[in-house]
Amino acid sequence: MAASSADIILATDHLHKVYAGASEPAVADLSFNVARGTIFGLLGPNGAGKTTTISILTTLLQPTSGKATIIDYDVVRHAKKVRHKIGLVPQDIALYPSLTARENLNYFARILHLPKKMIASRIEESLELVGLLDCADRRIATYSGGMKRRANLAVGILHKPEILFLDEPTVGIDAQSRNLILERLEGLNRAGMTIIYTTHYMEEAQQICDEVAIVDMGRVIASGAPQQLVEAAPGCKNLEELFLELTGKQLRDQR
């Protein structure tokens, strides 16, 4: 998908991050753009730099060098403004397990500066969207893995962010919950929300992403629409085969 500069909602420019004490950069010279209203997949093996990139874009980490902007706000210099525009669904279930889903959402709604009058309706809306309305008053600790993932998503979309970051949101859950999450993400995207998505499941990426960037060793090694990338690679029938072709079959746990 070709996007004009006016349509670019997220841009990284030679982004570089070296952790203290590390010899290799986690992210090296990373540059890519994301068009408004798309679902953008950030793919890569373990240790490729996906989570570091997401952390920089969501203001959790500062890059060693380079620049990233979200809706024209620099993620370092205008971090506070960026935080109003983004939503994050982290890989961890970042909820208070001893509180109910509704209590969690109520707390985060206030932290997100939602107007008091809107809080109750937004909570209902989010719970409805992730299919948890009926068990909203149960403690998170009593939820199944799939329910926790869905509650995690509910917090991320509570304030209807312009851009939603999801870091492997479907890890370790049942097929039904995964299907519901993917359906809902597509629905949110149709409603205008830009989604940045990291996953290890290539079929998921091929199913919902408009564009993907495959990163390895902190660098973008391929980017474009999933179908176009597959078609341009002789001998690859799908994104997973292309991914293995590009990143190799050796295990990456040591990185």
Partner: protein, 439 residues
């Protein structure tokens, strides 16, 4: 303000659901055992052998006062101080030193001590030899003590003094007895036989030994500023504030635990991507836990005032400065909360926080005089005790409860407590800020 309230409400909700944090107890490691052993070693010596220091004012115009001093120093029960900064002591100067908290005891020997001791011994022995009623009266040796001194140590000093006095009395009575016995025998025989013929039977006088248990010198306990205290400080007044402080500081463990759990569960990461300041997150925690501490404080005082008396203890007297009491309690609670935030930001795991938090509190309590009074610790431990926030809090509470303290008089303890809170929060904010910058 809405954000702060949201954070406070969330913290209170979490606390109400987290029963485990209220049950955190750990075995004290070696360091704690060593410190307590050191302290208790001197505690036993203070109540048994020696080293309790007391001021000694000898107003006696005769020699008995000096002999008493010698007796006390010889039997090793007390270490007597007779001058301060090179100046000899008088009664008023010594009492002021005790009231200021520089010393815990003053023993004052009255001017007529020798004369009355001699007269008393004479009268007592003579009455015994003549089987008459004993009537003696003397000016008391006065022991002036710090209101904050616990009963056990007061008793130890009184007993040591009583021992010295009894020794002196027996000595004098023996001298008199030796002198009077032949005279009384002679008097008795002459009265019966006139001039006695050789070989006639000798009738011995009937001797009463009641005088051996008859004390000649009265000991009198007196407060350093009697016009200010209508009652003596009780064990309840000394123990309740000490253990209340100890309990309040244990808020460190659940407070540090919430920070560590938020880091481990990822909620802190999520919060850091949201438009909320670090200070709002931390302040929310401080205020919620401060409220818990204050409730704890009120309940402990209520127990001292209403529940403990049901089991026969004295009623807890709260002094006459309720504002000062609230100021001290709030300052101590803030210090505890600040320390909890600091431990929570520095510790890498809940285990680290709970072990370090619990042990450091127990050590601070021991150093601060919660378990045994600071003045019975070895000298170097006494010097270390000034670093304990629990010691500052305890000193301030005792000042209010037994020295009629007020807001002004507790400022020397309140200001360090607030300073400690601010330093802890400042360090925690720096660490927090570094997290947020991804350093």
């Amino acid at each position: 303000m809405i954000l702060l309230w949201a954070n406070i409400k969330k913290e209170l909700l979490l606390l109400s659901r987290d029963r485990v944090s209220l049950l955190v107890l750990f075995v004290m490691p070696m360091l704690l055992v060593m410190i307590l052993s050191l302290i208790q070693d001197d505690l036993f010596r203070a109540t048994g052998e020696t080293t309790t220091t007391a001021l000694f004012v000898n107003d006696d115009s005769g020699t008995a006062g000096a002999l008493l001093q010698q007796e006390l120093e010889t039997n090793g029960a007390l270490e007597l101080v007779t001058e301060i900064a090179g100046e000899s002591l008088n009664r008023e100067r010594a009492k002021q030193a005790v009231f200021d908290g520089d010393f815990q005891f003053v023993i004052v020997v009255p001017e007529t001590f020798s004369a009355e001791l001699d007269a008393g011994a004479e009268a007592s022995v003579q009455a015994g030899l003549r089987n008459e009623e004993i009537t003696t009266k003397s000016s008391p040796v006065t022991i002036v003590f710090d209101p904050a001194v616990r009963g056990a140590y007061r008793s130890a000093v009184i007993n040591a003094l009583r021992l010295g006095v009894v020794g002196l009395e027996l000595n004098r009575k023996s001298e008199v007895f030796d002198r009077l016995l032949p005279l009384e025998l002679q008097r008795s025989m002459t009265a019966k036989f006139g001039s006695m013929p050789p070989g006639s039977e000798m009738e011995m006088p009937t001797v009463s030994f009641d005088w051996t248990s008859q004390g000649l010198i009265e000991l009198q306990e007196e407060l350093a500023a009697p016009e200010k205290y209508t009652t003596l400080p009780t064990s309840v007044q000394q123990n309740v504030p000490a253990w209340t402080l100890f309990g309040m500081f244990f808020i460190v463990i659940p407070l540090a635990g919430t920070l560590i759990r938020e880091r481990q569960e990822g909620t802190l990461t999520r919060l850091m991507t949201m438009p909320v300041s670090s200070s709002s997150i931390l302040l929310g925690k401080v205020i919620a836990h401060l409220a818990i501490c204050m409730i704890q404080f009120v309940l402990m005082l209520a127990a001292g005032r209403f529940i403990l008396p049901l089991f026969g203890t004295p009623v807890l007297e709260l002094g006459s400065a309720p504002i000062a009491l609230i100021v001290v309690a709030s300052s101590a609670a803030l210090a505890a909360c600040g320390y909890g935030i600091l431990v929570g930001t520095i510790a890498k795991s809940y285990d680290q926080a709970s072990i370090f938090g619990a042990v450091s509190i127990v050590i601070a309590a021991a150093l601060g005089g919660v378990m045994v009074p600071v003045y019975v610790m070895p000298r170097f431990m006494q010097e270390l005790s000034i670093i304990s926030p629990l010691g500052w809090g305890l000193e301030a509470f005792l000042d209010i409860f037994v020295r009629d303290g007020n807001v002004t008089s507790v400022l020397p303890q309140v200001l360090p407590l607030l300073g400690f809170f601010l330093i802890c929060i400042a360090i925690a904010m720096v660490v927090f800020y570094r997290w947020r910058r991804g350093s």
